[in-house]
Symmetry: C2
Subunit: 389 residues, 2 copies
């Protein structure tokens, strides 16, 4: 499909059984030059796939949020670089490199806030930079994309195991169900498998610890619907609420801990995440409820310090606020006008939670305190991986 087709949403209807279980993207088994992804714009109303054959398709799918979530965007972009290498295969080496670097710029420009995107693309560029043939470009890009995918999967599983211990501790202290508030979607739909914020919840559920998840709808895109859908598939008890309800839930003592994901974390621990995260962090602190941020190392950005000043906050189309995707209850879905009139709309997609509101980070390497010293040591740990950039 072309980018234009992606725009028109001509995705392939499928059934949950047809998708590799709980996985957002995979190489087409019948055609290894195409990437298949779940079209997240259709969920939870319908489960459909998009077939992405070019890097332009990938850019469009990320821009339009057919593919979304920090990890998933990064991995998809890594595969976008592979598709770019395939497209450049018959060009001269110089032309191919120009095409690949142009593609890299398009990919990085498709969403500004999540750092995983530029991290994955830069890693591809560094792996390809000194190669001597377009054959090598294709082979290396495939290898790096495969590596990034595997790291994402393994990392999320580890985040789940580390976060499980936090939930277990609350359960042992409390002796009953653990109530967890989350925001947006940081489940497997936001990564390749398993997820970040939902990973500890899945791990606890699998370990037999009773959990209940409070899912805020996360307007304007209502990614809470994705989280509710994921939890429903996995049989995890959950309660859906308007975003405004999170303060009331916290002040009434209905929440034992908060776990959210992140799109970018600065060297001192400021967290850019889906708009509304900051409000939940403030309410958690005001009510002495621990506030955890789950993130893979690829989300850490040691080159930034003050999140509010240094992280660009994406301003998205007002139509995301004024229109909603609704269903007739029998499978037919459509975009409908929710906010009539010609009202000016402001639609920031993220906000920044200052480090002092974060109880700790749950990473694939363990639990890290949200202060500069701990994070510096942590940044040191990851320098070998970053040194190649």
């Amino acid at each position: 499909v072309s980018a234009a087709e992606v725009n028109r949403g001509e995705s392939v209807p499928t059934s949950f059984q047809a998708v590799p279980f709980s996985r957002t993207l995979w190489i087409d088994p019948d055609d290894p030059t195409r990437l298949r992804v779940i079209d997240q714009r259709q969920l939870p109303h319908a489960l459909s796939e998009l077939v992405l054959g070019t890097v332009e398709d990938v850019v469009e799918a990320i821009k339009e949020m057919a593919v979304r979530g920090a990890g998933c965007i990064g991995v998809t972009a890594a595969w976008g670089m592979y598709l770019a290498a395939l497209q450049a295969h018959t060009l001269t080496l110089e032309e191919a490199w120009t095409f690949i670097t142009d593609s890299a710029n398009s990919l990085v420009g498709s969403r500004p806030t999540a750092v995983n995107l530029s991290w994955a693309v830069t890693r591809q560029l560094n792996a390809l930079r000194d190669l001597q043939s377009t054959d090598e470009f294709v082979a290396a890009a495939k290898e790096v994309a495969t590596e990034i995918t595997q790291e994402d999967i393994v990392g999320c599983r580890k985040i789940g195991r580390h976060g499980l211990e936090i939930i277990r501790e609350v359960h042992e202290r409390k002796g009953s169900e653990v109530n967890i508030l989350t925001h947006c979607n940081a489940g497997w739909l936001a990564f390749v498998e398993y997820g970040s914020a939902l990973a500890p919840i899945y791990a606890a559920h699998e370990a037999g610890i009773p959990v209940r998840v409070y899912v805020g709808e996360s307007r304007p895109r209502s990614q809470g619907l994705l989280t509710a859908w994921e939890l429903q598939q996995a049989g995890v008890p959950h309660v859906y609420t308007a975003d405004n309800a999170s303060g009331n839930l916290l002040q009434e003592g209905k929440v034992d801990l908060v776990i959210v994901g992140a799109d970018r974390v600065t060297s001192r621990g400021d967290v850019a995440n889906k708009v509304g995260t900051y409000l939940r962090a403030l309410a958690a602190r005001a009510n002495d409820v621990p506030f955890y941020v789950a993130m893979p190392i690829s989300t850490f950005d040691p080159d930034t310090f003050d999140g509010l000043v240094e992280i660009p906050i994406e301003e998205r189309e007002g139509e995301e606020v004024t229109h909603v995707v609704v269903s007739d209850g029998e499978g037919a879905i459509r975009k409908a006008l929710y906010v009539p009139g010609r009202t000016e709309v402001s639609n920031p997609a993220f906000d920044v939670t200052p480090a002092e509101l974060v109880s700790a980070f749950i990473t694939e390497r363990g639990i890290v305190s949200a202060n500069e010293l701990s994070l510096k040591a942590f940044a040191g740990h990851i320098s070998p991986e970053r040194s190649s950039e």
Copy 2:
């Protein structure tokens, strides 16, 4: 119309010109035994009226939020008592009093959180209690309802004048446009005319002070749409946002002050207001932005102290979250499914903002600090009015 008809939403289409300007309710000029109200469930998609002929109609209109907003509910309930007196006119004195007290109970039970409702109904009961004929019931109920209506109108205008001074001060200090964040709808639609939180904004706009209002949508009922509609009618510049954006707006310094309304204020100054108010109060405090609560005296409840413990928080139907009212862009509106699946929903309609987060109250008697001493003095002031209860 019967209560059942109200339920079916059979309201009378009208035009803005046909409604007394910026007024939510009025006695039918052609039939003084009927109350006409704006059907707020249809706004901003369509402007229509409901004709309420019985106290049962009024109860249903309040429950279904055809009529909403602390002040508007109170005044409508006062007229509901008048309709009850009319219905009881041909009964014996004893039967009539039983009908009137039963009606009072139904009205008070129709919404639990706003105190204006029970305040207005109690004032009617006290006025009627010792009368000796059903003629007197009707005459007195009409007189009290008229008084409450007039007090509401005059009170809101005074709130506007007092709040104007706060906005003027910011404007003089800043020398440019004053940016004000509000929540839900506390404009004229929430009262009879003018409003509480929007009253100072209207007053500033009329005084030529440049203002811009940030309007959060206030899910799940999206009363922000009512606020945007009001401001549009009045020509006041405004920006519509998802609720989640309020933290980002405050942390980016885009807001000079917050003004919200209230459904009930306790003796120490805790504020029950539309769910999500507390989150904005926390974010305002964290960013050193003043947070004002505008309220008429009828919203003050000296019989409560700890808002979180003592104010009942109404839990409303999950359908308010799972369904939205959308338009086809050409006038036809319908309820559509927004949250598919059988997800459990929690839908608290209010939250409680602790007094320490409130910079001050803007009342018809002036600006009152949000501490118990000031409020005690204030409560003393209002005791003559309350002593009749």
